[in-house]
């Protein structure tokens, strides 16, 4: 079973954690959620992933408000 845990803090920022999926599958699972929600600001993978490919992503953007 694959599951995704979302934790939305009081500022509206979201921490996403995937459980039970391997390697690049993780991205396929969370992509539709991340794209709908906004801007991916940080991504961390367990070391196993980097055996297949090496990559890190960072992006920043302004949200709504003050």
């Amino acid at each position: 079973m694959k599951s995704i845990v979302f934790k939305i803090d009081s500022d509206g920022e979201i921490a996403v954690e995937v459980r039970g999926a391997a390697g690049a599958d993780c991205d396929t699972l969370t992509d539709p959620f991340e794209k709908s929600l906004g801007i991916l600001s940080k991504k961390e993978r367990k070391p196993e992933f980097f055996n297949q490919e090496s990559e890190s992503e960072t992006a920043h953007a302004e949200g709504m408000g003050a």
């Binding site: 694959k2 979302f6 459980r19 999926a21 920043h60």
Partner: protein, 137 residues
């Protein structure tokens, strides 16, 4: 194997935004035939917006889509905190939070996930909204 990511909420979906506002207890006012609305401010002055919510005062809070497709707040933020107790930063944060919550539910529904809350509570011990979506296979 697991992975972690962090997402900054951007408010882009009008329907989800309206749903979030309703859930926060706000009444929405829209123009006829997708016309805009006038957001009331100080001394009868108005500003254009795509739609708005009423406060319990003579002043409104509007929502306007910007050139990046994100909704921005339109309102008299000098007056509103004084007359209605609505603070822009707090309002914006709680709205983003409810929007993110509703967006996760909506995407999960579309993709056939089951949605669960930690211990059947929306907020966990850290005051976060914790949602788990599950898919078999």
């Amino acid at each position: 194997m697991s992975h972690f990511s962090e997402v900054k909420t951007k408010i882009k979906d009008r329907e989800i935004l309206k749903k979030a506002l309703k859930n926060l207890g706000h009444e929405i006012v829209e123009g006829v035939n997708s016309a805009g609305v006038e957001v009331r401010g100080y001394f009868g002055s108005t500003q254009e917006a795509d739609f708005k919510i009423l406060t319990s005062t003579h002043y409104d809070i509007g929502f306007k889509e910007n050139h990046e497709g994100c909704y921005e707040l339109v309102g008299d933020w000098e007056l509103l905190p004084k007359v209605s107790g609505i603070n822009q930063e707090e309002f914006s944060k709680s709205l983003k939070r409810e929007y993110a919550h509703q967006m996760i539910r909506s995407v999960a529904d579309q993709l056939g996930y089951t949605v669960e809350y930690e211990g059947n509570k929306v907020e966990n011990e850290n005051g976060e909204i914790e949602i788990t979506v599950k898919q078999w296979g």
